[in-house]
């Protein structure tokens, strides 16, 4: 979709020398800034708010892996995010699992779900692909309304935070923050590694020109499905982490508006950029948080920003910064 447009500006930059771990120098700098922000910010800003930002940032990064690097617009990522939350919540509350195990269970089930839905959806391209993912996600939503373990409208409430590895109590927001930051960084670096692996190169080839990738002998469907499963599983990890942070897992996270929100975050930040989804998630969540008192106006303001982005900043905040500085971020 917008993938090729976003990538168009960077033709030729791909050949830039990698400084460390597959990062180019500007990327390394940006990563340093992000890392510094993650380490310093909890001392100044409210940790629960920051944890929410990190959960959504991971979710947006996972979504961006699919649209930004394979060119697949999934409109049903809420299903994996929400399901990850439900499973993590159920594991922590009913099975008494430790938080990290619960989150992994959430990610694993979301990955399985992604495998089932992805196997069907990747058979079609463009708008049909988006519609199939949306339809499947709505089926997951209806399942969550009815299934007994989700408690329908009430959701899973009072999920215990537990103790990390059964040792370190997460009752304090501060301790929990470091676990969430760790999960986010692992997820972020994993996505970065995927993008820069030979597998990632094939993904980008598919994005640029699918028939050519096929003619080169790649089994395109296998690559797409694998990318879909990775994206779904990481979305599930993000959803599971959010469930542990807030102690609730509800229908909001599986509803289709959540799928729309993650599209918005990636778009505002910059599709197909490494740091774009992180910035996008931070911007959208900050807006929702600090504009909450304006009530219904939040969605209106979000809409205006979306329109502005599409009209004026087609590459998103990070994408535009990258263009001005002539670097790939």
């Amino acid at each position: 979709m917008a993938g090729p447009a976003a990538a168009g500006a960077f033709e030729g930059i791909d050949a830039e020398k990698e400084a460390l771990w597959g990062f180019t120098k500007p990327q390394l700098l940006a990563f340093g800034v992000m890392l510094a922000f993650i380490v310093i910010s909890p001392f100044y800003l409210y940790p629960v708010f920051l944890m929410k930002v990190l959960c959504f940032a991971l979710f947006a990064c996972a979504f961006n892996l699919l649209i930004g690097y394979v060119g697949l617009l999934s409109f049903g990522h809420a299903a994996y995010f929400g399901m990850g939350g439900y499973l993590a919540g159920h594991a922590a509350k009913v099975w008494g699992a430790t938080p990290e195990v619960s989150i992994l269970i959430g990610g694993f089930v979301a990955g399985l779900l992604g495998w089932a839905i992805g196997a069907l959806a990747i058979r079609r391209q463009g708008i049909y692909f988006a519609m199939i993912t949306l339809a499947m996600a709505q089926m997951v939503y209806f399942f969550c309304v009815q299934a007994p373990f989700t408690n329908g409208e009430d959701g899973i409430q009072a999920i215990p935070r537990g103790a990390f590895l059964g040792q370190y109590s997460l009752a304090s927001d501060f301790t929990l923050y470091w676990m969430v930051a760790g999960i986010f960084l692992l997820g972020f670096l994993f996505i970065h590694r995927v993008i820069h692996s030979p597998f990632g190169q094939v993904m980008k080839a598919i994005r640029e020109n699918e028939p050519r990738a096929i003619s080169l002998g790649y089994r395109v469907d296998d690559y797409k499905l694998m990318a879909f499963v990775i994206s779904a599983a990481l979305s599930g990890v993000a959803g599971g982490t959010k469930a542990i942070v807030f102690g609730i897992a509800t229908l909001t996270d599986v509803f289709w508006t959540m799928s729309g929100e993650v599209v918005l975050m990636s778009l505002v930040g910059g599709l197909g950029t490494l740091f774009g989804p992180v910035a996008g998630a931070a911007i959208i969540i900050t807006m929702q948080n600090y504009l909450a008192e304006f009530g219904a106006w939040v969605t209106v303001i979000q809409g205006v920003i979306f329109v502005l982005c599409v009209l004026a900043f087609r590459r998103g905040v990070i994408g535009e910064i990258g263009r001005v500085l002539k670097v790939r971020l």
Binding site: E153, D154, I248, A292
Partner: protein, 411 residues
Amino acid sequence: MNLNRRTILSAAAATPLLGARGARAQAANTIRIGILNDQSGLYRDLSGPGSTQAVRMAIQESGITQRGVNVEVVQADHQNRPDVGATVVRQWIDRDNVDVIVDVPTSSVALAVNTIVREKNKVFLNSGAATSDLTGAACSPNTIHWTYDTWMLARSTGGAMVRAGGQTWFFITADYAFGHALERDTAEFVRSAGGRVLGQVRTPFPGTTDFSSFLLQAQASRAQVVGLANAGGDTINSIKQAAEFGLTRGGRTKLAGLLVFITDVHSLGLQTAQGLVLTETFYWDLNDKTRAFTTRLGAMPGNIKPSMVQAGCYSAVLHYLKAVGDMGVSAAKASGLEAVNRMKAMPTDDDAFGPGSVRSDGRKLHPSYLFEVKTPAESRAPWDYYKLLGTTAATDSFRPLGEGGCTLPRS
């Protein structure tokens, strides 16, 4: 361009910091009340800004400010989303030193807030939510469920309706946990009062907009009462379409709404809602005291009369401030548990609900009323909507202590 971006970025970065500083400036002599409800959606009219107005009147009438105590009110919109509500409440308690959370319609949000308030040892005065779990399986020593709950609605509408002559029932039930629970509870009361349930139909949830086939099934059952075990938009749509089908024409069949508020009746209009039977715990035109209360409240936002949820916010905050006046601000701020215990120990009395009490499981007790919506011909003034069919005494209105599965010690 560069300068411009820099200015914007630094301004954006500074904004949250400013907010944080302002919030930390605190006086120990200040009680902060956080009103969390729906300011933009489905429940705006029955809670929303009207609840804030009711709370402000309670603060004024408590007379606590004349004794040198500051009372501040903050409010927020939870958009009926539990994660939004949970975030706001955590922030209010952790950073803004809010002592008491008021209102919170929407059961899922209320349950989330219930957990946080207990963990942080503050006070939760719920007026807006329906779920009887708040004083059942999820009961908390820091929570008082003030105005109504599903058990009370089922008992009054189910039991009192049978005694008023509605012997045979048919349910139109929204097909999810809440609808099932409402149907099950009401059917139990219908049977125990000597009535019969002829059948039920489950409507897909969410997304049902056409209720015609379900209404025809209800009509074909020839039941005297069609019970609507649904909420919000589903209830509104089914009542509208029942009026179009002439379901209640001739007066043989009655429509019973299990979760309908006066603001819903107002938006439906008497032409559509006439004959509908429903239960509330407060009606502005019930007696001299409720009329005096409504007059004192003055013009409400949107020109509505107070709903029972808004009246509940008034009553709950008034009682809380009485307890604060009794035990002292610092003691009330130090422990939400102690403040709630003090509230349980004192009898309640106000113009909106009359004399009542708070039970050890956090259930506020007061009478409930079965109303029938007037026909346009019967209504003599704006908002003259209800005629009283029956009253259930305070002692019988709510689920008996011990039947809800609450594990709090009895006082």
